[in-house]
């Protein structure tokens, strides 16, 4: 697999989320942040490692904000997900992490995650809010029952 990504870049929202996770004294947050860091070598070796989100399932909010044409989801501990896309700039491929989210398959999964992190769900920005709205309408990332939430740490 020679056609790999040159680097993995964090969007402003993802960088902020990661920073908050790393600074949090919570043990679960630390394990999420460590897992994100450990994904670097995996994603550099295999840029299509995550679960593929079909084009018609990419949330409109993300499409509008970043102009995404492809989206991959990596599982993280405590029901968190890392969302990334592959794009090119000056003939080089880059994986851009567009966000870190709590996305549960079911409401039970989400409640479990929220309880584990000891906080209530709180959207971070307009994109998170749009994802929450989408999921409440029954239109999630890959299936109709996915619930999307922004980072919940205080």
């Amino acid at each position: 697999m020679g056609l790999r990504a040159r680097a993995i870049v964090l969007s402003a929202a993802a960088a902020e989320s990661l920073l908050r996770l790393e600074r949090s004294p919570d043990q679960a947050s630390g394990s999420i942040a460590r897992r994100v860091r450990s994904l670097r070598s995996i994603l550099l070796a295999d840029c299509l490692h995550g679960e593929v989100v079909k084009q018609d399932r990419i949330p409109k909010a993300l499409k509008d904000k970043y102009g995404l044409e492809n989206l991959f989801v990596e599982d993280l501990p405590s029901f968190w997900r890392l969302l990334c896309t592959i794009v090119r700039d000056r003939g080089e491929r880059y994986l851009v992490v567009v966000g870190l989210w709590i996305i549960g398959h079911t409401i039970v999964g989400f409640q479990g995650a929220a309880a584990e992190l000891g906080s209530s769900p709180r959207p971070l920005d307009s994109v998170s809010a749009a994802l929450v709205t989408l999921s409440r309408r029954g239109r999630g990332l890959n299936s109709g029952s996915w619930q999307g939430w922004g980072p919940t740490l205080k």
Binding site: V9, L10, R37, D46, L48, K65, R88, R93, Y94
Partner: protein, 99 residues
């Protein structure tokens, strides 16, 4: 003026693996029209369905050429067309934090 005696050595084209511009465009079309990553076998099948069959060495040469320009990425799930970064993502690439 000095004459260049010898032409450049082709980087991707080889004997028996020299796809035409049309083939390259068909390969790009197959990648762009797919809903996610696709295999080389699937690309060959799509090209055959479009009435533009090609050989595997030619497909490999076309993919190497497109990959060299950053237009194709390959991973464990197959090949995917890589779009040009949007303005927002360009900002992240140039100014953002690297993992």
């Amino acid at each position: 003026m000095a004459q260049i005696a010898k032409g450049p050595r082709p980087r991707y084209a080889r004997k028996g693996a020299n796809p035409t511009l049309e083939t390259i465009e068909y390969v790009l079309g197959a990648l762009q029209k797919s809903d996610g990553p696709i295999s080389r076998n699937r690309i060959l099948a799509t090209l055959a369905r479009w009435g533009h069959s090609t050989t595997r060495p030619s497909l490999n040469a076309a993919l190497a050429f497109l990959g060299g320009e950053g237009m194709v990425a390959e991973g464990s799930k197959g090949l995917i067309w890589v779009p040009e970064a949007s303005t927002q993502l360009l900002e992240a690439i140039r100014k953002g934090l690297h993992l």
